[in-house]
């Protein structure tokens, strides 16, 4: 961490970046933070803040961001930061409504402060920095052991056992899932178990790894996908059941979130034949997803549609990979530690999608979506100085080479653009790229699992190699989703595909291995979930990969539900709907009288009003949180999180700036140029 690097006196000097469009608040916070002896940088614009972060990943230890900002929704920024830089983000707002706070938490916020922020609260923010780091390390500690200290573990264990016992009964699984989700939410927010003080490298869910994961899940069927079996299928050395379990948890949450978001989305199913795009979710998967209630059919369709976007999406274009891979290979040997796709908490969001996206059924493929593993990771991995890394390095190289051959650079470039892989536990493919053999279905060997022995400072920045991954600039946006993602997959190792932080793990998905072949993959990527990599597996429509089934393409889009198709989709990732959606609350019209808590004299901040205010009003305000069902945030009237309309691109990938429909990945998917919208992929665009 930057602060640690400065040595000594932690948390003195811890670098905080504050983002808020309110100048008054910015000045007050700055003063307070300085009083806490932190190093403070303020920025009134989210877009500018993101640029700053991208340019200098190591420059900050923690970010505090307002929720409602004019140029970008705070949740979107949160996701992007989580995905690209894996830095702890604290949300803040004058809005204390529970649903908004919940949204912040689900998007991966380390904390949520209600304005006016008090000094005491700021004094403690360093805990989030430390906690995050420790948690990451902890993931690596428990390799294969059941004695999980991580709070997630027990939950996972329970769920896992239960589901095994129940043979995947939906009911039990669902209830478990719910419980897990809740607990995961809490767990995610809580500080990690301090017992693990060793700096074990944490598992970074690279694109490849994630793809393997998705493949495995698809293969098993979401209902039957238990960590143990997934682990077995993935066959990644060094990966523990716990790693998989927590990843699975996140993935499910993500899927659920996507499903919820797309509940109202029209069902733009693209007939398999119609879109040459990435194969939609495999029939099985889709069904599974839908059956599980996670993803509404329409959502999936929409998502897939979007994801797949383009018929010629650059899914795993063989040509592409090569260059990217080559680059990856080159970069792979750099000491990075930075570019790993950290699979931070927010990542699960994407995962869910991905999960859904995967076409389970593709017979040829074994139903595995070719999530391009994150090629970048491989690269990153090679760099990481760990025992595993060594191993991975070699593997990576193999992978890289392999991938290079498989994918055109262009794919990667586009998607990887914004992906900043944080080097935390690099996951390296244990085997050659093969991970994403579109045609094969699960390629267990691809698992890039690299667990660096030393954890990089947890704020390690992304290795330069990743950053400049030219690979990302996929020339062919073929992959609908994130064009970039495709690339990522294609580049397979070179690009740290989109860190899956935050929901947008798009890059992850397609990255390679499976994705390779199909442009379909790209589709996913743009969409919502990196996992959705379905594209890969799916046989991205454009590609006749064989593996990717066309049918899956459709499902892909659907599965992700992310899809941009409906602008609202924003998968809730970030964008808040423009119209006052942020509040999403419908307040009952006459609540001034405080129907809810008539006698409360507490305002939304919980401060006693005592000013003769009709207590009711404040309470009303609060109670009206009943929420309407919050609309996907789109920022003030903008589709911030949403890349282009209808694209399945997770908001994450949406451009930083106002998301105009043109940012759609879908647009980009067709053309490499488009894909490069860094934001879309969460990349800084410098790839």
């Amino acid at each position: 961490m930057a602060a640690e690097a400065r040595g000594g006196d932690f948390p003195v000097g811890m670098k905080v970046l504050v983002v808020d469009d309110d100048p008054t608040c910015l000045v007050v916070l700055k003063r307070m933070l300085l009083e806490c002896r932190y190093d403070v940088t303020t920025c009134p614009q989210a877009t500018r803040a993101l640029t700053m972060l991208r340019e200098n990943r190591r420059g900050f230890d923690v970010i505090i961001s307002d929720v409602h900002m004019p140029d970008m929704d705070g949740f979107r920024l949160l996701e992007l930061v989580g995905l690209e830089m894996d830095l702890p983000v604290i949300m803040m707002s004058a809005d204390s409504r529970t649903d908004i706070v919940m949204k912040g938490i689900k998007h991966g916020a380390c904390d949520y402060l209600i304005k006016p922020v008090r000094m005491e609260e700021l004094k403690n923010i360093w805990q989030h920095v430390v906690r995050k780091k420790f948690n990451e390390n902890k993931d690596h500690e428990h390799s294969g052991s059941l004695d999980d200290t991580d709070r997630n573990r027990p939950i996972n264990n329970d769920n896992e056992y239960a589901s095994s016992a129940n043979d995947g009964g939906d009911g039990s699984w669902k209830s478990q899932k719910k419980k897990r989700e809740k607990e995961e939410d809490e767990a995610d927010l809580e500080s990690g178990d301090p017992s693990s003080t060793s700096k074990k490298p944490r598992v970074v869910w690279s694109v490849e790894l994630h793809q393997q994961f998705v493949n495995a899940v698809n293969h098993l069927g979401i209902d039957k996908a238990v960590p143990k079996k997934i682990l077995e299928l993935m066959n990644v050395p060094g990966l523990t059941r716990e790693n998989v379990a927590s990843h699975l948890q996140k993935f499910r949450l993500y899927l659920k979130r996507i499903a919820q978001h797309h509940a109202g989305i029209p069902h733009p199913f693209v007939a398999p034949a119609s879109s040459g795009k990435v194969a939609p979710l495999g029939g099985l998967e889709f069904q599974a997803l839908v059956a599980s209630g996670q993803i509404p059919p329409q959502a999936l369709a929409a998502f897939q549609d979007e994801l797949l976007g383009r018929p010629t999406s650059s899914l795993a274009l063989p040509g592409r990979d090569q260059s990217s891979l080559r680059l990856a290979a080159i970069k792979g040997n750099k000491p990075h530690g930075e570019r790993e796709i950290a699979f931070g908490q927010p990542i699960y969001k994407c995962q869910n999608n991905a999960y859904g996206a995967f076409p389970q059924s593709s017979p040829g493929v074994g139903g595995l979506p070719s999530f391009g593993a994150w090629p970048n990771n491989k690269l990153g991995m090679t760099d990481s100085p760990s025992a595993l890394a060594n191993v991975s390095n070699s593997q990576n190289s193999n992978l890289l080479l392999h991938e290079l051959q498989q994918q055109p650079d262009s794919l990667l470039t586009g998607t990887l653009h914004n992906i900043d892989v944080k080097p935390s536990g690099i996951v390296m493919p244990s085997q050659s790229l093969n991970v994403f053999p579109a045609s094969e279905g699960i390629s267990p060997n691809q698992n890039p699992l690299a667990i660096p022995s030393q954890s990089q400072s947890f704020l390690a920045s992304i290795p330069p190699s990743m950053k400049h991954e030219p690979l990302l600039a996929s020339s062919s946006p073929s992959n609908s989703l994130l064009g970039g993602i495709d690339m990522v997959s294609q580049a397979s190792t070179s690009q740290p595909l989109i860190s899956t932080h935050g929901a947008n793990l798009p890059g992850l998905m397609n990255r390679s291995s499976n994705a390779m072949p199909s442009p379909g993959i790209s589709n996913f990527q743009s969409g919502n979930n990196p996992y959705v990599v379905n594209q890969n597996a799916m046989g991205v429509s454009s590609r006749p990969l064989g593996v990717l089934k066309t049918e899956s393409t459709d499902s892909l889009s659907c599965s992700y539900g992310y899809i941009g198709g409906s602008t609202s989709v924003d998968s809730g990732l970030l964008s808040s709907q423009s119209k006052n959606p942020q509040y999403g609350l419908l307040q009952s019209p006459n609540d001034i009288t405080g129907s809810w808590s008539p006698s409360q004299d507490i305002d939304s901040y919980g401060n006693t009003l005592g000013q003769g205010h009709p207590g009711s009003t404040s309470s009303n305000y609060q109670s009206s949180n009943v929420a309407l069902g919050k609309l996907p945030d789109q920022g003030r009237g903008r589709n911030h999180g949403f890349v282009g309309k209808g694209t399945c691109i997770p908001s994450r990938f949406a451009v930083d700036e106002v998301e105009s429909p043109t940012n759609n990945l879908s647009h980009s998917i067709g053309s490499s140029a488009d894909i490069v919208n860094p934001d879309i992929f969460g990349f800084s665009g410098q790839m």
Binding site: D21, D22, P23, T24, C25, V27, V28, L29, R31, M32, L34, E35, D66, H68, S93, A94, D95, K115, P116, V117, R118, M119, S578, K579, N580, P581, Q582, Y583, L585, L586, Q587, S588, P589, N590, D591, I592, D603, S604, Y605, N607, L609, G610, Q611, G612, H613, T617, S618, N620, Y621, S624, R636, G637
Partner: protein, 143 residues
């Protein structure tokens, strides 16, 4: 000193009447030799920003068809900045204001806008007096 007494009296009054809350106290405590003009800076920013927002609100509410979401967004901004500065009354009125926005009540909004405006200008006037008194004191006790 007369100025000192006046300043104290003024602040006490502002607290007592609920114009200011403890957040403002926190700001006062943050002012020290390293940031001698902190309170003045914050207060000035708040006054400028608040005025801008109220202007925007007035414009939005003048329209025949009111965009309540945008109105709400501005009110939310004002709520945030008033909370940050400790402007309690303004903040609370913003809370009410948001309720009217939620319920899409133009009349309610207009009425509340008037309240907010009144309270805001009242506060601003007092802030200006406060700053003047402070400057006088600084003149007497240069830092």
């Amino acid at each position: 000193m007369a100025a000192a007494n006046q300043l104290t009296a003024l602040l006490n009054n502002m607290y007592a009447t609920g114009l200011l809350d403890e957040q403002f106290q926190q700001l006062q405590m943050l002012q020290d030799s390293s940031s001698p003009d902190f309170v003045s800076e914050v207060v000035t920013l708040f006054c400028q920003d608040g005025e801008r927002i109220i202007g925007e609100l007035a414009k939005l509410l003048e329209k025949p068809s009111v965009d309540f979401d945008r109105v709400d967004a501005f009110v939310h901004q004002l709520k945030g900045s008033s909370a940050s500065v400790g402007a309690q009354k303004v903040k609370n009125t913003c809370i009410q204001f948001r309720e009217f926005c939620q319920s899409r009540s133009k009349d309610g909004c207009l009425k509340t806008l008037d309240s907010v405006r009144t309270e805001f200008y009242d506060l601003r006037g007092k802030f200006q007096t406060m700053l003047q008194l402070e400057r006088q004191l600084q003149g007497f006790y240069p830092k």
